[in-house]
Point group: C2
Chain length 421, copies 2
């Protein structure tokens, strides 16, 4: 690809994403919808001006990794841990239900072979962490109690998705499941989550030290972005999704992260502030590229709208995709119905992970064109419409007592200083 | 290429560039040398961990375009225009001398065919605008009188280089020069330089208007970077070097740009300030990638150091490369010798454009491996050592009266407000 073509594509993506996000914002629609729509308009679905190239894909992945870094930066690990058990339940049920229901639907009602049914179930499992955190940001609920449950569940969902993908890949290649290989993946991912924040915190202390000694400008952008990219690679190396590397780096650099065993690494407010000011423009530059590229990937031209099967099959699948995630929210028995529903619908958007499953299914010949097209509809539908429901839901129930921001009981002394929110 | 490999490469580039730039800074060496050295160490010359891929090349080109944007932003068009006639003389002589001397050397002393001699002359012509502006920034002379002459001459050099490249390409393909085609290239490039700043200024006024109305954060990074990329593409479309698109956009957005005919487009100080604060981290992130990639491109393993021919030929060529540019400075008859020399040595660094010529010569079979290797030495030598000489020169002669910052006579009333320098 020639450079000027790439520059033109990037410029087109940035400008159209911004214009449609501004329009969405005026109309009271979540801005992420604007960016996704920009991709659908520019891509093969409508104008056909752009398609997903490797170069754009890489820019998009930097975008989602940086977005997760930002989410990590703004996450209070105590809160996230407090939401832990709820998040695990929501993730497990919200993962298992769509998978099992998808499998059953494909086997029982449509009589597909087992492998197709498995891949179909897999495609329906993983919540789009990107769309979900963006919509939570858009409606201002990122740091709410249910927001933390959703964030934790979405992160776990992504991990489960990767493990399932590896399992299905094994089955399709070797015809059986190797428990040893699976155990290794889980152990590696576990190791990543235990070690990454510690390592990132140490590196951040090094960067902070260097910053005090450096007389040249520009240390923070280079060093922090390099750190985030490094952790994305590390995550990949250990079998975890790359974007979780960004998340781990963000958590470690957040103001509210404290190492175990009382180890204290100086992490001054001024440093955190500088990281924030100097990385924000970079994150703002790259993030929209991700959502536009998701829009580009949704090729609605693949869909033969006149086919009765597609309508029936996609309708059934969409229903399962939604019900399965709503069921995940219902598992929080101690919470009010409104809280459960808030969590459930926030988990509905699929997007990037679902597309990876669907794409793999198509490329390996498991999905025929009709099944693939139906899945594109399901993903497009949940990605594009769930943000509306979430916004409408909060407009109606946002002040419900069950959704009140909770006071943290275990408020730590070091907490009294600076509150970003 | 897999994403995680790309991320790892980028992280490696960012980290090593920073470390070596910090070391260079401590040692009193120009920091750009540190970044180039990082590339030489990581690249095929030494460790062989990285090579120039299309993806890295694109990142690097964004880096150089953004650097030129920044240079444009900090450029005072009045000063640049005031330096205009001097810059044209320096550019023409400093372009013609290495070309003619290179041609003569190759024909007379080494008896090469005419096409080889032409390409060789071409390789020696163009000053590396990237290295030159970085070194001027490093020694704090970017806005000096001689700095403006050098900047103007380097810009013209780049344009002349592109025209020469197009001409040589025509000769090699069609066996003759089409004056019509050449005239068209010149007309297009001229049109670009006349229209681009005007267009960029109008677009910037639009962005500023939108900024007042937008309630979402993140407009400036998207909009300004999109604008710069758009102008890089536009430059390419009209046959000008892409980085000059970035330069034109920067000039148009600088505080000191005024449209002809007294057309005034509101361009508030606060807006310029916001552009500066929000684009600086992005520029700081991308710029080092460019210089590391230049270092990666200099494959010193290509050189057979035991060959007598290579030593002789490269020594002769380096001499010409240096003398030719020094001659360009000498053309400023009214200036003191020190001023002339400052301009001359600042024009010595070759780099990216020379590499493009050399690469084209090799790819088209005009240059054999020996000539190519010799040219790599010449480019490496002028790129890596000229910054030293410039730094040493200013340490010795920096306070010479002929290099004093000149007071501008035509100080405009609107000028009294804010001075960035």
């Amino acid at each position: 690809m020639e450079a000027h073509v790439f520059f033109l594509q990037l410029a087109l993506i940035l400008i159209s994403a911004r214009i449609l996000a501004e329009i969405a914002n005026r109309l009271g629609i979540p801005t992420v919808i604007g960016e996704l729509t920009a991709g659908i308009i520019l891509g093969p679905s409508l104008l056909g001006w752009l398609e997903v190239t490797l170069q754009l894909q890489l820019m998009a992945e930097i975008g989602i990794i940086l977005l997760l870094f930002k989410v990590g930066l703004e996450t209070d690990l105590d809160r996230l841990t407090a939401a832990g058990r709820s998040a695990v339940s929501v993730a497990l049920v919200g993962f298992a239900m769509p998978f099992l229901m998808g499998y059953a639907l494909a086997r029982e009602l449509f009589d597909f072979p087992p492998m197709v049914a498995l891949m179909l179930g897999g495609t329906l499992t993983a919540t789009s962490i990107g769309v979900t955190v963006r919509i939570l940001q858009d409606v201002g609920r990122q740091n709410s109690t249910e927001g933390q449950v959703v964030l934790g569940a979405a992160v776990l969902d992504d991990v489960l998705g990767v493990i399932l993908l590896a399992t299905l890949y094994q089955i399709s290649v070797e015809g059986q499941i190797s428990l040893l290989a699976l155990g290794r993946i889980c152990a590696f991912i576990g190791a990543f989550f235990l070690l990454a924040p510690l390592l990132a915190r140490i590196l951040s202390a090094v960067i902070q030290k260097l910053l005090g000694k450096s007389t040249m400008p520009g240390l923070i952008p280079s060093a922090i972005i390099a750190l985030v990219l490094l952790f994305a690679s590390l995550a990949n190396l250990l079998g975890a999704p790359e974007l979780l590397g960004g998340f781990a780096a963000g958590i470690a650099l957040s103001r509210r992260f404290f190492l175990p065993f009382g180890i204290s690494l100086a992490h001054h407010h001024a440093f955190a502030q500088r990281i924030d000011v100097q990385t924000t423009p970079i994150i703002q530059l790259f993030t929209p590229i991700f959502f536009v590229v998701v829009g580009l990937s949704l090729d609605l031209n693949q869909v033969d709208w006149s086919s009765g099967f597609i309508w029936l099959f996609s309708l059934a699948t969409v229903t399962i995709a939604i019900l399965g995630k709503l069921a995940g929210g219902q598992v929080l028995f101690r919470r009010h119905m409104v809280f459960r529903t808030a969590v459930g619908i926030s988990m509905v958007p699929r997007g990037e992970v679902g597309l990876i499953f669907a794409e793999l299914g198509r490329a390996s010949g498991v999905f025929g064109p009709q099944v693939y097209a139906a899945l594109v509809i399901v993903i497009a539908y949940t990605t594009m419409l769930a943000p509306f429901w979430i916004k409408l839901f909060y407009r109606r129930y946002g002040n419900h007592p069950s959704l009140a921001f909770e006071k943290r009981l275990e408020e730590s002394p070091s907490d009294s200083g600076f509150h970003p929110g």
